[in-house]
């Protein structure tokens, strides 16, 4: 259990962690889990387990009924969580109950945030959340709501895609904080067998216009792939493969994170 950490310190956890890692030349291991999957109790144990197993950042996914950016594995985990009664408010309860020192990033579609009300960002911070990532709110899409989120207490993680032109990459980098999430390939989330051949070029293009740490996700599913990405970027995001492991058991998911950590540290 942590806290008595001040709320401001919680919000700064993400930025500080990324800077520390960069200073020590270590790569960030960013792990995605769907809140409430496979159930509430397991979800808390999972967050705690993967924090202990070496995750540097944990993305806590808010399940949504219509996740258009997600492939079959995260869709199914979201549906299972919703069927179990998971909500945004209960996601925040999981964050608070897990009480880990690793920075937590709320990973959500926009509609649950809008429905939750203007104070959702403050309630998130109070639950121990450091950052926020909104899948369907690209830079420039809704300046008023982007200002609401960006001007709030959480670090606002923005996404870059392989289709993003370089001028737009620069604009995205200047609007984000914490780190920039680079989507490795066209398509939705989900494990893939190989890394895209143009990934090094995409990372280099982004690096040229972005001073924030760059974490690469989408399709990274094995320790070998994670190690390969670690040679290019500041961090690697693993989602669907971890959710798939969690579907089998918390222990299996934790062991998987340990194997990813070992691969990155050997990189």
């Amino acid at each position: 259990m942590i806290n008595p950490t001040a709320p401001q310190a919680i919000a700064a956890l993400l930025t500080d962690r990324m800077l520390e890692l960069r200073a020590s030349r270590r790569r960030a291991l960013v792990c995605y889990v769907t809140a409430g999957h496979p159930d509430r109790a397991a979800s808390i144990a999972l967050v705690q387990g993967i924090a202990d197993a070496g995750a540097d950042v944990i993305e806590l996914g808010v399940p949504f009924s219509d996740p258009v950016a997600d492939g079959p594995v995260i869709q199914a985990s979201s549906q299972r969580a919703l069927d179990g009664g998971m909500t945004l408010d209960r996601t925040l309860e999981i964050a608070a109950a897990a009480a880990v020192r690793v920075p937590l990033v709320l990973f959500s579609y926009l509609n649950p945030l809008l429905a939750s009300g203007a104070d959702v960002l403050i309630r998130s911070r109070d639950a121990g959340i450091s950052g926020i990532l909104v899948t369907d709110l690209p830079v420039g899409a809704d300046p008023e709501r982007e200002q609401w989120i960006g001007g709030g207490p959480l670090a606002f993680v923005r996404l870059v895609a392989p289709t993003t032109p370089v001028e737009r990459m620069a604009a995205i980098a200047s609007h984000g904080s914490g780190f920039v999430y680079l989507i490795s390939r066209l398509g939705v989330t989900g494990a893939r067998d190989d890394l895209p051949v143009d990934l090094p070029a995409t990372v280099a293009r982004l690096r040229g216009v972005c001073s924030l740490p760059i974490c690469v996700g989408f399709g990274v599913s094995t320790p070998t792939q994670a190690r390969a990405v670690a040679h290019l970027a500041d961090g690697v995001v693993v989602g669907s493969a971890l959710v798939q492991a969690a579907e089998r058991s918390v222990d299996e998911a934790v062991a998987f994170v340990r194997s990813l950590r070992a691969a990155l540290d050997g990189a």
Partner: protein
Amino acid sequence: MTGHASETGRFGVYGGQYVPETLIPALDELTAAFDAAVKDSAFMDTLNGMLSTYVGRPSPLSEAPRLSERVGARVLLKREDLNHTGAHKINNALAQALLAQRMGKRRIIAETGAGQHGVATATACARLGLDCVVYMGEEDMRRQELNVFRMRLMGAEVIPVTSGTRTLKDATSEAIRDWVGSCDHSHYIIGSVVGPAPYPRMVRDLQSIIGREARAQVLERVGRLPRSVVACIGGGSNAIGIFHAFVADADVQLIGVEAAGKGLDTEEHSASLLRGKPGVLHGTLSYLLQDEQGQVHPAHSVSAGLDYPGVGPEHAWLKDSGRAEYVACTDADALAAFGLMGRLEGVIPALETAHAVAWMLAQRGRWTADEPVLLCVSGRGDKDVAQVAKTEALNQ
């Protein structure tokens, strides 16, 4: 009154581009390509030529004397059911397929509910030699077996969608997921005035031929504008299509009929404008059926084409501004009107259209007998005959 949305992609506060970052460049490319195409006379000549010689436009304006007597007004039918493929959907699908060809995209993605948009897209792709993939909810494939067969006959690949409610909402999500992974070589032909900008404006512009023709036809026939223009609303493309030419005519009432399903006060309806709250689904901010936590609430309608929890953002804006009036009609009343219109006029309407007919039948006294009221017959009911026969057998 603006509502053109060409600069901002918005209608008032509604609309927008709430999509994964990957799609932003594809939407920018599409916006530029559409705006250039409509200014290119060669493109417009090709489109207008095909609308005339392939689709069969202009569609006729029919008198409906026996229905008029029941309604207590001079009902005029805008016959989109007589278009090739049997609905208004071809106006949009054909134009977007031509646009895709112009953009050099050889693979087309579409979603479909009742199957009419899927059939229209499969048709346009066959005609232009493009590959076609249609996502359709498993539940809708069961309800609209005939249209599944028609799409496959024309060489389209129909992919069953088994997630969520297995209807139009999930078919649309699946089509978007496909496009997120294929936008470099595929074009997504969305079937209604929904989705991220520029789709609501683009599909509106492509469907507005319905209202432009109808306005001229009514003026020529009757010598005045209609008192009311009535259309059914799921996503709202036939309604926007017929409304658009009349928006500036302040004396013309615009009336959209949503699906009340088993009743507006039940949990089973598709009345997003009457019972929803603003929210974001499929890239756009509009009225949406959703719960307190912002999860999308499943819609219900006997008509697969209206069975959608969202609605086009321009309708949200027309509602808030008071320019259009939105009402609803239940499954049971639509089914009754479906049969009645066949018996009275020899026109079997789509179940979607039957909602608008049913609402009019309940309005006796609203108009005088000689007042012209324009009804958009969005499609023909052939696709619904088997389902209605089953429903009637169950009720006997």
